[in-house]
Amino acid sequence: MARVAREMVEKSGINVDQLVGLLVKNAAAELTTFYYYTILRCNLIGLKGEGIKEIAEAARIEDRNHFEALVPRIYELGGKLPEDMKAFHDASACPPAGLPKDPTDVQALLKVLVEAERCAVRGYTHICNLTAGKDHRTYDLSQAILNEEIEHESWFSEFLGEGPSGHFMRRGETSPFVSKFLR
């Protein structure tokens, strides 16, 4: 634990135990999404599915990166991950991004993807709101993750025909915002 870092956050008026709880739930959402997206990606096949596979893969890898970036902050603040993997899964801040009943229905698959991203956008917006001007490091991290989650939402939303967002696919590197926390 980073004792003084935690004290500073406490002094700012934040309930650190609650904040850590939220970070654990969002870390669980990232890791479980990484897992569920693996299954979704495997099922993105055929003329419609193949065009989305690369984007789903980029989102999958970046969600894993988000998990990796969140974990040190949880421990710095005196928290820890649950030892039981199943408990960790069930604590997720977002529902499981499970395969739709008809795995060949690419539209349904896209809806699962976009809903998972929207849940993440809501979650990190909430953490940013709680920490803004108080816990600078958690805010910086959550804002970096939020930037990437918004891009993920935009990618899938465009495929669902909800209108243009102006974003491009990643060109080579993943996690343009979060990578500074992974070095």
């Binding site: 709880g21 739930k25 997720s92 529902p95 499981p96 956008v121 809501r122 979650g123 917006t125 909430h126």
Partner: protein, 83 residues
């Protein structure tokens, strides 16, 4: 439709096998089966068995998020007499 007092609502806290009910704008919703309300807890900050009308103003989603859940009753309005 059943009318809940605040005390009755509080007993539906999602713990020890009790169903998880939450109130919003006078309606009482059953969130027991929601993944996001396991054991009556929601995103660390909220507990079932309570009126969340005010909390929802700060939530990153609006009250529509509750519309997908069954409505099981209404919350009794407590009128406070002016002193």
């Amino acid at each position: 439709m059943k009318e809940f007092s605040k005390e009755e609502l509080a007993r539906h806290d999602g713990r020890n096998g009790h169903p998880a009910y939450v109130a919003c704008k006078g309606k009482v919703y059953d969130v027991t089966r929601s993944f996001l309300w396991k054991d009556g807890d929601h995103q660390v900050l909220h507990r079932a068995g309570a009126d969340l009308t005010d909390s929802l103003k700060q939530a990153p989603h609006d009250g529509d998020a509750l519309e997908k859940f069954p409505i099981v009753g209404t919350l009794r309005h407590v009128r406070t007499e002016p002193s």
